[in-house]
Amino acid sequence: MFPRPLTYERAFDVLDELRRQMDRAWEDIEDPSVSWPRTTVRDAGEHVIVRAWVPGLTEKDVTLTLHDGVLTIAGERRLTVPEGYVVRRQERAGSRFSRSFALPAKVDGEKATAEVKDGVLTVTIAKAAEAKPRQIAVRTKE
């Protein structure tokens, strides 16, 4: 596997490189150049769960549309500066947004729920009956 004996030093090099990649992965999370809001789509067996980090927003600020297996999350975050205040540093993004995600399984749009808590939107959509995992009984052949 390795062209020459793996010394301790080189082992650490490999670990360092791994850690650098992990660091980048973490940094990406809050990198302003990455689309806002940060979103994950997860196949959770019976459901598909979509989660979006939308600090500052509530249910009424977000619009969800499900069409042909594509979920669209849209809305607007407005950042207001109170009267008499001056902006000294601005890192937070405030804008209209719309992001679409092809869901990883066929879903039943009638069975979807959504909530926003502490600035995290969670959309839970039931999979269509034929897309749900099924347990297959294994029988011993006599």
């Binding site: 660091d23 809050e30 008499g84 205040y85 937070r92 993004a93 502490d118 600035g119 995290v120």
Partner: protein, 99 residues
């Protein structure tokens, strides 16, 4: 938590806006999904540190703030910290009276 542990890059720097008003500095940090009870705000030797979940960030505060009166609130995943200026540092409007 030791200072070394804080250097571990698995911490995420929250995005922060800083606004200045006549009587205070206001820090606004995006910290979604943390929950109010998990948030820690402290002022130590001129540094304001906010921690919660994976989020961690420190700001050096200018001289002339009043650490006793720092207040913070967490709403919809956004942490707002109010750092009042010490009375002597506030801009004052001086009335000009007729002589």
């Amino acid at each position: 938590m030791s200072k070394d542990a804080k250097n571990d890059k698995s911490w995420v720097r929250p995005r922060v806006d800083v606004l200045e008003g006549e009587a205070e500095l206001m820090l606004v940090a995006d910290m979604a999904g943390v929950g109010r009870e998990a948030i820690d705000v402290r002022f130590d030797d001129g540094d304001l540190t906010i921690t919660g979940g994976r989020f961690w960030r420190t700001f050096a505060m200018p001289d002339g703030v009043d650490p006793e009166k720092i207040a913070a609130e967490y709403t919809n995943g956004v942490l707002t910290v109010h750092v009042p200026k010490a009375a002597a540092k506030r801009a004052r409007r001086i009335d000009v009276r007729a002589g």
